[in-house]
Amino acid sequence: MQTTELRNIVFTILKSIAPEIEPAELDAAAPLRDQIDLDSMDYLNFIVGMHEKLKVEIPESDYQKLVSLDDIVSYLREKLPA
């Protein structure tokens, strides 16, 4: 899957949790939780959303790798079949 496509999917899931966000206003390289008000339940729903949409297992121990939008997209690219 292409980076742009993955990024759009991730963004759609985020938007369903935090409807107020705009793609243009997000800095893809900066920590996500500094930019969006996500509590632990929102964050879990975000992970569940990616799990259900992309069929990837994201263990809790990997959460620390998922800091920025860029991190998340490259993490998913590695996990998904090319």
Binding site: A18, P19, E20, R33, D37, L38, D39, S40, M41, L44, N45, I47, V48, H51, E57, I58, P59, E60, S61
Partner: protein, 413 residues
């Protein structure tokens, strides 16, 4: 005859607007069934009934605003016949139904003058010769998609007045939005909803600070054991079965409350009434601002997994403004959890008529001394604000100590 009255949905609510009936005359309902959707200043609420029976007559029309305690519908009890029901109604027909509906909350002198101001009470209000189960009322229930219903509640659109453009005349979200845009300025727009929520929070908190002599305590609780236990548990299950620390903290509160019943209940009419169950009001912040603290029922008897599922469901529904009436009227104590992005310590304000609120700050790694050695430790600051008319700081301190102990043995929760 069972009179279905608009229940109180919390100390700060005195009226509600009927959005729609989810039952029609002839439907059988059981205890806990949702019978109506009522819009309050906070949320559209699924209102439950607390009796088994058969719906006989719907007295309130969608779009009408009625006070708490007003009789909204009549239901037949098991075995009650039409004749008995009609006789019952004749006995009560001396009072016009509209006045009867408001009599429950207004002094008798006020009923006469207030009756005309009650909005359009046509058919059910007239003390006309009673007919059989009035099919004039919403006999054929309009088909409305849940999304359209939710949107209608947000926009304050009266579904009964809408002609649907969907299959079999179903009302779609587009129909609602078209009407909502063209509708009056008084409609409950999301912005109005926020203003209303701010007002209700203001009223409840003002009452709390005026009436309740709060005392405050706090303690730091080490969470190494709970964190490790939870991480080990979560690695073994799929993402959809993971449990958050927030649920563990709620379970620990319920556990510790077993020994401190004086913190769980209500202060009413100058005395404390302990509650029979632990229904924790979970403070949920709304993305648009404001917060709501609906009850997570029976936290003491639910397993941790059940509690987590209940919490996820409650948060989702609170943010979608689709709570149930019992969830708003039932909380026996409140827990507010600031989460990891928040501050370290919260000094809670009690939600009347409750008598305590427990707060958790963010879980932080701090230096911690244990058995003479300093180590890094995940720590949460738990706080208690409680009503001094009911308990003293000594009991509060014992409660916090029990809470801390519960969290050192998470597998036993």
């Amino acid at each position: 005859m069972i009179e279905f009255k608009l229940p109180s949905l919390g100390a700060d609510m005195d009226q509600g607007k009927l959005v729609e009936w989810t039952v029609k005359p002839g439907d059988h309902v059981t205890k806990g069934s949702v019978v109506a959707v009522v819009d309050t200043s906070k949320s559209a609420i699924d209102v439950e009934i607390w009796h088994d029976g058969t719906v006989w007559e719907l007295l309130t029309q969608p779009g009408e605003t009625v006070p708490v305690g007003a009789v909204m519908a009549l239901l037949l009890e098991a075995g009650e016949t039409q004749e008995q029901a009609l006789a019952w109604k004749r006995d009560h027909a001396a009072v016009p139904v509209a006045a009867y509906a408001t009599a429950a909350v207004l002094p008798p002198a006020a009923t006469v003058t207030s009756a005309p101001s009650t909005p359009a009470h046509d058919s059910p209000a007239a003390p006309a010769p009673p007919t059989l189960v009035s099919p004039a009322a919403p006999a054929a229930r309009t088909r409305v998609s849940p999304a359209a219903r939710k949107r209608a509640a947000e926009l304050g659109v009266d579904l009964a007045a809408l002609a649907g453009s969907g299959p079999e005349g179903a009302i779609t979200i587009e129909d609602v939005e078209k009407t909502g845009k063209a509708g009056s300025a008084a409609a409950t727009t999301p912005l109005n909803r926020m203003t209303e929520i701010r007002k209700t929070i203001g009223a409840a908190m003002t009452r709390s600070k005026r009436e309740i002599p709060h005392y405050y305590l706090a303690t730091d609780i080490p969470l190494a054991r709970a964190t490790e236990w939870l991480a080990a548990r979560n690695t073994q299950c799929s993402v959809t079965e993971r449990v958050l620390m927030a649920a563990v903290l709620l379970k620990a509160v319920a556990h510790a409350l077993k020994r401190h019943a004086a913190l769980n209940g209500f202060y009413r009419d100058g005395r404390f009434e302990p509650a029979n169950a632990v229904h924790i009001g979970v403070a949920i912040s709304l993305r648009q601002g404001g917060l709501i603290a609906p009850a997570l029922h029976d936290c003491d008897s639910k397993s941790l997994d059940e509690l987590m599922r209940g919490l996820a469901d409650l948060v989702r529904r609170a943010r979608a403004f689709t709570l149930r009436s019992s969830e708003l009227s039932d909380p026996t104590i409140t827990v507010t959890n600031l989460g990891d992005g928040g501050a370290d310590l919260v000094h809670g304000v009690i939600y009347p008529p409750q008598v305590a609120i427990i707060g958790f700050g963010g879980v932080r790694e701090r230096s911690w001394v244990e058995e003479g050695a300093v180590r890094a430790m995940p720590v949460v600051t738990a706080s208690l604000a409680a009503d001094h008319r009911v308990t003293d700081g000594h009991l509060g301190a014992l409660f916090l100590a029990d809470l801390s102990r519960s969290l050192q043995a998470p597998d036993k929760l």
